[in-house]
């Protein structure tokens, strides 16, 4: 599927390669035993503007793979290229959202969002303006001067999303960002993510172990097998944009969920 997401979130023509992962292998040394192979062999390409989810069972190595792509841990073997460059360390072109919001309790919401800009020495009036716009985009207008302890878990995760986007990253890496949220908040956040992706045009790599979440938000679902991880299936999701809750009950949606379930070995 060669395509790009336009401003309305629809898929248009013009293929642009962005990420290239080939024969990625990861193993950890263990004392007294042989090495633990977390990732056996992962190969796929990532296109500009695509939202790809890494779907797999707990402990299958999908988070490890995400961290390898983000340059947070080195791969044992294999090629990891983003934008034509080998990834050897974290890069300001990446924005990361973790499972926990990881906000700093001593900073106001606005200052939390501006944290990456401070680290990159780009914190100025324009940055503050962008941070405010992002907060407004996720529905947190008026909370700029609040502290994280005054916000709910879902609101905190929205702040974390703004923080990951404030320095205009080309690639957004999300590690089960909605995993700690309740079901309703989670569905809200999925719509928010699709909305933001349409508005910013960011390419997103998203780790989850929820089949319906993966199918709902993705252009591509890369299904990881149990450890040692290989790609069990690579599913192009052709559901139309903008996506809304009704789509979850369509036969196409169910069929895609079914296919992912088969790849995971849950259904036949």
């Amino acid at each position: 599927m060669n395509s790009q997401i336009d401003a309305q979130g629809r898929i248009s023509a013009a293929p642009v390669p962005f990420g290239h992962f080939k024969n990625v292998h990861q193993s950890f040394k263990r004392s007294g035993q042989g090495p633990l192979v977390a990732i056996e062999n992962i190969t796929f390409d990532l296109k500009v503007g695509h939202l790809v989810t890494l779907l797999g069972p707990s402990g299958c190595g999908k988070t490890t793979f995400l961290k390898i792509v983000g340059g947070l841990i080195p791969a044992s073997r294999g090629t990891i290229q983003i934008n034509g460059r080998d990834v050897v360390e974290p890069h300001p072109d990446f924005g990361v959202v973790f499972q926990q919001a990881n906000l700093m309790p001593w900073r106001t919401i606005l200052d939390n969002v501006l944290f990456p800009m401070e680290i990159l020495h780009r914190s100025d009036a324009a940055a503050a303006q962008r941070a405010k716009e992002l907060l407004a985009l996720v529905g947190l207008e008026g909370f700029e001067q609040s502290y994280p302890s005054q916000l709910s878990g879902g609101m905190q995760q929205r702040v974390a999303l703004c923080r990951a986007l404030v320095h205009k990253p080309k690639l957004l890496l999300m590690d089960e960002p909605f995993g700690a949220l309740d079901e309703l908040t989670r569905m809200e956040m999925q719509d928010l993510l699709l909305d933001i992706r349409a508005k910013t045009g960011a390419t997103v790599m998203f780790v989850t172990h929820s089949i319906s979440e993966a199918v709902y938000i993705s252009d591509i679902v890369a299904v990881f097998s149990k450890r040692p991880a290989v790609i069990a299936d690579y599913i192009a999701v052709d559901l139309p944009y903008p996506r809304s809750a009704e789509i979850r009950y369509s036969p196409e949606f169910t069929e895609l969920e079914h296919r992912a379930g088969r790849a995971l070995g849950i259904t036949r």
Binding site: P90, I119, L151
Partner: protein, 254 residues
Amino acid sequence: MTFRDVRNGIYPLVGIAVILLIWQFYTQYFAINRIVLPSPMDILWASLANWDVLLWESWPTFLESVLGFALAVAIGIPFAVCVANSRVLNLTLYPILIATQSIPKVAVAPIILVWFGLGMQSKLVIAFLVAFFPIVVDTAAGMRATPAGLLELARSLRASPLQVFLKVQFPAALPFIFAGSKVAVTLAVIGAVIGEFIGSMSGLGNLLLTANSQLDSPLAWAALVWLSALGILLFAAVVIAERIVMPWSEAGHH
């Protein structure tokens, strides 16, 4: 001061009032000799009659405690930062620190007096010695307790070690540093009094000893009350500093 602060402040006041009433009743009803145990009213009168002496003698004790505490903060925090961030320094210095801490300060006080004399410096040094340990231990614990998620976030942005320390590690350790400081500031007062007991010419501890030797128990007790007031005052000062430095901990929860 919020309404909640005022309301919560009433409970200890009521508790103290009840204890004082029982105490007053006990000493009067059983006609206890005031040399053995003066009544709260005796102590109050002694306080009022000698307020100028008490105030005069509070000053050196106050200075010794505050300067000893300030010195412990000024040396203890950088020391803890170094120990927490360097494996070599940690292995080299931490066992020595623990070992010296196990030496009773009362036992060291006479030696300190020989070195620093009968004046204020010796008390300041003893106050410093007792306040140093809790500040170092708590600050070091705070330095190591930085949430892993925040460190990973900083790393994902390629923050420099200095940025990580200034923007993540140190602010995250502040609650620990203040917890240690609260313990340290009350210990500093105790340290100053230990010094005054061993040998001095002024201070509330000196006044207490003198009054005691003259069997003026009400004045000795009055000095004790002023000492505890001094401790509470310094503790409150640290709490206020904490609220100013860490406004977020005061921010209400959702």
